[in-house]
């Protein structure tokens, strides 16, 4: 079996090509627990890997490090570099780096369908000659050229073409060949290319140096001298000189292989989307439309239908088991445990499906980068980056992919702050809880639901401002982001992503929530001596009573609420099923009042997220200590806010 790595610039259509090559069946989801960094699929019994999109193999951002480490350590049998054909020059810059790694390389010119529109023609034969790699031209979104690509992949795996390393100026080349001749480089680990290693030595690449045996003194002196001479000659630092040389090669190849005609100016959606006046209102309008369509329109229609359906189903099963003489324990588990618990969660599938669908359309069309562009100034005052807005928007669907998407934020502090505030945005799984409480206590009062979102946003703002205030070393940090061309979302990409996220939700309902519903039912029906007792004296009640006093100030110091919060750590939807098992959804009024209902919702909104999101946070924060601080902050903030909300409401009523 061969291993093929798919690499390329962000927005080069890499994932679309990955999907076109592997087909839907081979898709490995990036739902909790499964690696998101690289996706794996199969093509004709070859393993094919989708690596994160990168501009360079420089060791600075986490994605770049991951891709670089993968290629260097795992030595794939073939690297496929996906190139946005309308952006040849910059893409060739990455080619000049990949060519040095010693793996066979295959160049795929993607977005063939756009070339004509952009007035570009590319001589693929010439490009292939100049790079020493096969070149295939495809349109991944239209599906053209895919068969030819598959053939070329097989051919490349057999023939193992060697890519041509870019040649730099004579002045630089002289140093490279001197360094290669030194004995030191003959000791480098197998599979690493001498020329590549020599260039890394000139650049003083720390990641590379740390993987090598210590430099002998004489050689080190020679390197230092060479770097000084290069710096002197080019009036720049060695790292910059190499980048400059690479871009010169890229320019040269692009000039030789491509003809660009002046393209006709046509209407551009960007003239509204990033218009200085219209941009922000348009963003608010689009997000409003997303929520209205999913939660308001679709949710409003399907929720009552599904609720009735599950209610009817429960009733039927109960009648049936009574006539069959099934043990009340078993029918209780079935009806009050599984059907009530799982049903309460499944009710939300249609509206979440629409929400995930709309969000993935936004992600696929290129609008997200514009949101980052227009919102950067505002986010900066909060110590965040424009890119932080992307996790916050995705977070309205689910915090897990949202937290993961924060990885594109280069600056560590901004990235960590983004990870901490993302769970404040109410995710789809918290919706059932809010819906349950709101329809019971505030029927017809439509303005409360938007207030919950607003409260989440306020929490983000307060955390950001506070973090800014206590941050002693204010570092200047960068915000550099490509604004890709708008494109029509491909049906396949949108469908795959929506399906994956919706399935994740359904799978949770069928596993975690099903299991916890059964356990909760059992714990609430038995005492520690395994006697059937009423809920008040059950095991669950006793456990809940231990922590319940903590919540007396918040107005929900009874064991049912505490137990619901505890089970919510598994998945927030479980709160609904727990309440429906322990209290019953029609009986909420005898436990909560409007003030404590609101404080309960506030606490759920802001306190630490579910276990899947916690593990995503851990992964991105990278340390247990930071994670604990984050969870403590979230839960502490939730407690104080809930307290405030309760007393404000009590004052108002």
């Amino acid at each position: 079996m061969h291993t093929i790595a798919l690499i390329g610039n962000p927005n080069s259509g890499k994932t679309t090509l990955f999907n076109a090559l592997t087909g839907t069946s081979a898709y490995v989801g990036n739902w909790p627990g499964v690696t998101v960094e690289k996706k794996e699929g199969m093509l004709n019994s070859h393993k094919i890997l989708d690596l994160p999109g990168i501009y360079s193999l420089s060791p600075y951002s986490p994605e770049e490090q991951l891709s670089r480490r993968y290629i260097l350590d795992e030595q794939p049998d073939l690297i496929i570099d996906v190139i946005d054909a309308t952006n040849l020059e910059r893409s060739l810059y990455l080619v000049t780096q990949l060519a040095e790694l010693g793996c066979p390389l295959l160049l795929v010119l993607n977005m063939a369908d756009l070339l004509e529109k952009e007035g570009i023609t590319i001589d693929t034969k010439r490009l292939s000659q100049m790079t020493g790699s096969p070149v295939v031209i495809v349109s991944a979104s239209k599906g053209t050229g895919i068969n030819a690509l598959k053939e070329t992949i097989e051919q490349s795996l057999e023939e193992k073409y060697v890519a041509l390393c870019p040649l730099f100026s004579n002045f630089v080349e002289r140093y490279i060949s001197h360094i290669i001749e030194d004995d030191y480089l003959h000791a480098i680990p197998q599979g690493r290319q001498m020329r590549w290693a020599a260039i890394k030595l000139i650049e003083e690449d720390e990641l590379f140096l740390s993987s090598m045996p210590p430099l002998p003194d004489a050689f080190n002196t020679y390197l230092t001298k060479s770097r000084a001479e290069l710096a002197d000659h080019y009036d720049d630092d060695p790292e910059a000189i190499i980048i400059d040389q690479r871009y010169k090669v890229a320019e040269h190849i692009a000039k030789d292989c491509q003809i660009r005609k002046q393209k006709v100016k046509s209407f551009n959606f960007d003239s509204i989307a990033t218009n200085r006046i219209a941009a922000i209102p348009l963003f608010i309008l689009i997000m409003g439309a997303v929520f209205y369509l999913s939660i308001g329109l679709v949710g409003g229609y399907t929720t009552p239908i599904l609720e009735n359906l599950f209610g009817y189903l429960g009733g039927q099963v109960l009648t049936l088991s009574d006539t069959l003489g099934v043990h009340p324990l078993l029918s209780g588990i079935l009806v009050d445990g599984i059907i009530a618990g799982v049903g309460a969660v499944l009710t939300f599938v249609p509206q979440l499906f629409i929400l995930f669908l709309l969000l993935s359309i936004l992600e696929d069309c290129g609008y997200m980068a514009r949101i980052a562009f227009i919102m950067d100034r505002m986010m900066r005052t909060l110590g965040l980056s424009g890119k932080s807005i992307i996790p916050l928007v995705i977070g309205t669907g689910c915090s897990v992919p949202a937290i993961m998407s924060s990885r594109t934020i280069e600056h560590q502090k901004q990235r960590e702050l983004t990870v901490i505030v993302t769970p404040f945005i109410p995710c789809g799984a918290k919706m059932p809880v809010f819906a349950l409480m709101l329809t019971y206590f505030f029927p017809g009062q439509w303005y409360i639901a938007p207030l919950i979102y607003l409260l989440g946003i306020v929490a983000v703002i307060v955390t950001g401002l506070l973090a800014q205030a206590i941050d002693k070393h204010k570092e200047t940090n960068a915000f550099i982001l490509e604004l890709p061309r708008y494109q029509l979302p491909t049906v396949k990409n949108v469908w795959l992503q929506t399906k994956e996220r919706t399935l994740g939700f359904i799978i949770k309902a069928g596993t975690i929530i099903l299991l916890s519903s059964v356990i909760i039912y059992l714990l609430s029906s038995y005492s520690f001596t395994l006697q059937t007792v009423d809920a008040e004296r059950s095991m669950l009640a006793i456990m809940g009573r231990i922590i319940a006093p903590l919540f007396i100030p918040l107005g929900f110091g009874f064991w049912q609420a505490s137990v619901a919060l505890l089970t919510g750590i598994a998945a927030k939807e479980t709160i609904v099923s727990t309440l429906s098992v322990t209290i019953g959804t029609t009986n909420l009024g005898s436990f909560f009042d409007p003030a404590s209902a609101l404080s309960f919702m506030t606490f759920i909104l802001l306190s630490s997220p579910c276990i899947a999101a916690i593990s995503a946070m851990f992964k991105e924060l990278g340390s247990m200590r930071k994670l604990l601080y984050a969870l403590l902050w979230q839960t502490g903030f939730a407690y104080v806010s809930a307290l405030l909300v309760r007393y404000i409401v009590l004052l108002l009523i």
């Binding site: 501009y55 420089s58 600075y60 630092d237 400059d244 871009y247 660009r260 990033t274 604004l483």
Partner: protein
């Protein structure tokens, strides 16, 4: 002589890059994105609050903050 930096350009103005005066990591990032010596750039648009700015370089568009643009010297 006064040095011209990228943040001084108004929308529609062009310039050629002369040097980047930034810490190693930021300089590398900017150069990786194609801001190398002698390259022509054009300021395309400003964000709603005048910052960040959208720039066209090597046939594609990217945005960066004024603070970063100030570190890019033009000739």
């Amino acid at each position: 002589m006064m040095q011209m930096t990228m943040d001084e350009l108004t929308v529609g103005q062009r310039g050629a890059i002369k040097a980047i005066h930034a810490p190693k990591q930021l300089k590398r990032r900017l150069m990786d994105m194609g801001f190398t010596k002698g390259v022509d750039i054009e300021v395309v648009k400003l964000a709603p609050m005048g910052d960040p700015i959208e720039v066209s370089v090597r046939g594609y568009h990217l945005c960066l903050r004024r603070a970063e643009a100030r570190k890019i010297e033009l000739s």
